[in-house]
Every structure is written in C-alpha cells, then in structure tokens.
Amino acid sequence: MATTRDLLQAPVIEKPAPPASFDVRRIREDFPILKQKMHGKPLVYLDNAATSQKPQAVIDSLLHYYLVDCANIHRGVYLLSERSTQAYEDSRVKLQRFLNAAEPREIVYVRGSTEGINLVAQTYGRQHIGAGDEILITAMEHHSNIVPWQMLCEEKGCRLRVGPINDRGELILDQFEKLINDRTRLVSVAHVSNALGTINPVKQIVEMAHARNIPVLIDGAQAAPHMKIDVRALGCDFYAISGHKLFGPTGIGALYGKASFLESMPPYQGGGDMILSVTFEKTIYNHIPNKFEAGTPNIAAAIGWGAALDYLTRVGMENISSYEHALLTYATEAIGQIPGVRLIGTAREKAGVLSFMLEGIHPHDVGTVLDQEGIAVRTGHHCAQPVMERFGVPATVRASLAFYNTKQEINALAAGLEHVKAMFA
C-alpha cells in the first residue's frame, strides 16, 4: 500500500504547459459560469473575495474523479485506490510548488483557511500559549483570524492584542511593533484584508517577530488568488489558504507549516489516517502531514484544486498580478470619481478589493439594485465587523476582482451605481 511518504517522492506526472500570453477574452472562455445572464443582463461577477469561479479544467477534474478515479485514499491495495491516492498527493505537491514550500509534507489539507487557523490555535496554541501570554493580530482581520484566538484566550487565560490601522486602512507598523513584547507567543496577520484590500507588509512583520523568536501565522486566503506566494521568501512559520478562493472547489484548503513546527505539534483531530498503530493501551501518531488529517478528506476537492493550480500556473501568477493591478487602478478611478462615493480602504498597497459607501444609500439597497443589472457585489460587514466599526459604517458595498474581470465590467458597475443614485435621489 502506498503511503503519503512514498507518494511524496513520486514525480508529478502533469507538466504545466508553457505560459500563454494574457488575453482576458480567452481567459473568460475558460469559465463557463461567466456566460450566464442574470435578470436578463450579462453576469458581472464582482464577489471574488467571497468565492471565485472555477475554470472548466477544475470542473472536468471533479467529474473525472467521480467518473473514473473514485476510491478512498491511503487504504486499498487495488489500482483504483492507488490512482485516487496518487492524484490526491499530486495536488499536495502542486500546492508545495505553488507556495514554494520546502517539502510536500509541509502542506496539511484542511477545509479552508478558517480551519487552518483553528488547527494552529488548537495544537500549537494550546501547547505553547498559556495564562498571561499574548497573541498579536491586526485591526483588519477577518473573523476567522480573531475568534479562534478569542476561544484560546477564554480557555487559557491569554490575551489578544490588536495592532491599529490608520484612516487609509493600513497597519500602523511602529505601533504594531510596540505591541510585540516578552509575553507575545504568536503573531497572526492577514496578508491581504478581505474588507479593505490592504496588502500587509508581512515580510517585515515576520522579521520583527522572528527577531524576538516569535512565530508568525499568515492568513493568506485573500492574497493567494492575486499574487505569487513564496512562503520561504516570506519566512513565515504558517500560511493558510482556501481552495475555493483560489479557483478550486469549496471544502478544501491548505495550511503550510514549517516541518519543524508541524513535527513538534500535537495532532488536531483523532481518527483514521492520522495514526501508525492503535491499541487500547497506546496509539502512535502518523508522520506529518497525515498526523493532522484524520478521517477521509475531501479527495475530489483536493484533486480539483490541483487542476486549478495547474491552470493558474499556465496563466502565470505574475501575469494575473499585473493585470489585476491595472484593473484595480482603473476601478478605483472609475468608481472613486462618482459623486457620493466614499472609498473605504485606500491603502497604498492594495489587491483585489474596492470597498465603498454611496452617500445616503444603504449598501443593501445598492446591492439589490445592482443585482437587477446582473452585477454581483457583496454588501454587509464582510465578516470583519471590527473593520466596519473602525470606519464608522454598518456595512459597505464591496466589489472584489479576479483576473477574468474586465474594464467593461467596471464600466457596468459605474453605470449601475448611477442608476442606484437616480433611484434613491
């Protein structure tokens, strides 16, 4: 029976094709859902920070798994299980390369970045963080990088500290640094804010924390879809991402952890696949990453995510990054100049997100009217209520971009907002 260890040594069969030149019209052809109409208007999908759409390659991969390769992994001696296991572990290798981790065993499959953060809180956190200790986050975190730590604080009597942000939505780095002290046991920060789009200077944060031997977890859910991630260049100890925000299926995510950390951490959940041997007297846990992967995982989603990573590699994350940067600049200008629009989050370094208010009109009403124009935006607090409070708004309208969005779609959004204004004038 092939184990994860054996398979991790095996070469990945599929080689990404040479990078194609970036042509958004051709890219859109790869995303069947975008051809739809909503309320009789072409779908303008601008809620990519909530979830991204999936290229045909991912859909085909899911279909292929269920049509041809469906079997449980790490179990059977039969060919079907071997194929399923191989495809599942190939995806882990693809993730390792995508994040530039040193080894595939540093990639732990989880359900999403939320679970990745919870895993660290419940294993590393419970092991190393005690009464009076501190965990440092920023004021722009998603609830998923707040609540797991609050739960730990409740259990252990430790304390959550929060680095403040300025009116542009940027982390105030010198104040953040002052919050690092002898009691700090972990720094956990978003790479990119889901509500504001701010890109945090995570490399600098890692250096600051490491200078005092404090490990750093980066919530990369909103960064990975927009830029090349290199965990070794960043130097972080943990990096959490979600498959569904990265053009893969829902229900799958990955936690990168330095092998030395993962090795020393206790298991997360107990069950099958995370053990080497079980007797009623003593159970010996499996090696990493399997130690953290109890039970049958979302095999199909892991494999489908691998197809998404192949697709992204073909398009090129650098191409995606530069295209999106230009599109965000265009959108910021087009939407920002509309009278009555107040942009929330105007950091100098931003990715993918345009959050705003339309004077005198509640975001929900904006969202409903835009929907009738076929435009999907998110309205609400974006699971970042402290951010809303910081800016004194109950909610915002958020248009979030992916590399398949176009200037024409931004123009449609601008026209839609004029329509909203006329309606509520």
């Binding site: 509640h362 409903t368 609400g380 809303m388 109950p394 309606m423 509520f424």
Partner: protein, 150 residues
C-alpha cells in the same frame, strides 16, 4: 412595473428618506432592540400601552430603505391598535412579505403595509422588512433578548 420598482415603491422610498415617528419615547413602558447580524441593521422600538392599547409608538435605528420604511410604516399603522390587533397585523404582514398568504376578507386590513408586496420577490430582503416587526413582538412581550429576524 418591474420587480425593482415594485420593491422600492414611492411610499417606501418616501418613508426611507423621511421616517415618521423617528425618535425615542422617554419613559416608554415597553421597548426592545432588534439587530440583523447579516447586514448590521439596528432598530429600537418604543411604545406605551394603556389598557393593552398602543397609545404611542416610535422607533430609532439605522438600516436599509426597506427596514427603515418598514419600521416607519409600522409605527404609523399600529398607533391606536390593541396588542391583539397588532399581532394579527404582523401575521398578515409576514404572510405578505414571504409570499405565503394573501390578505383574506376576514383578516386584518394591511392598508399602507400593502406597499411591501414586492418584497416576496426578493427573499434575501424579507429579513429587512420584518426586523422591526420581530422587535415589536419583543417589546410587547417585554423580552430582554435582542430581537432578530434570523
């Protein structure tokens, strides 16, 4: 009429821009807070009951056009009504916005509340329209918990 103009009828837009009875009642003998965690809408309903009849009613809060107009028209509709009448109107209103029932001849008259008939075409907005009503129920029951249209 398009679905959108049916949702945002003139009366609703008018009440959203100029909400009626939009103030606190000092020494109100009933009040309750409502909160929709999904969108952050907040409403407080104040009322005074004399012999089970609502003699004064008002609201405060912040929310979308639908929730603000709903609260505003609620206060207009219920002033002078008994607790029992208010409950019956809520039931009829709830049926209207969820599209589950039509006004029957024997039931309470919805009157101006009929402008919310377009809401049932927008399922995600039903909670906006009903938040003030759930809050009213809490106020009448004297429930200390924050009402929610969840």
């Amino acid at each position: 009429m398009s679905e959108l103009t049916n949702l945002y009828q003139e009366v609703i837009l008018d009440h959203a821009k100029r909400p009626r009875n939009f103030h606190a009642i000092e020494n109100a003998d009933h009040h309750a807070n409502g909160y929709n965690p999904l969108c952050g809408d907040k409403v407080t309903i104040y009322l005074t009951l004399v012999d089970d009849r609502i003699t004064d009613i008002s609201f405060q809060g912040s929310g979308c056009a639908i929730s603000t107009a709903s609260a505003s028209i609620l206060t207009e509709t219920l002033k002078g009504k008994t607790r029992k009448e208010a409950e019956a109107i809520f039931d009829a209103f709830h049926g209207l916005v969820t599209g589950q029932s039509v006004e029957s001849a024997g039931g309470p008259v919805l009157g101006k509340l009929a402008v919310f008939s377009g809401v049932c075409e927008f399922p995600v907005r039903v909670k906006c329209a009903s938040l003030a009503w759930h809050t009213l129920r809490s106020a009448l029951e004297g429930s200390p918990a924050v009402a929610s249209s969840e």
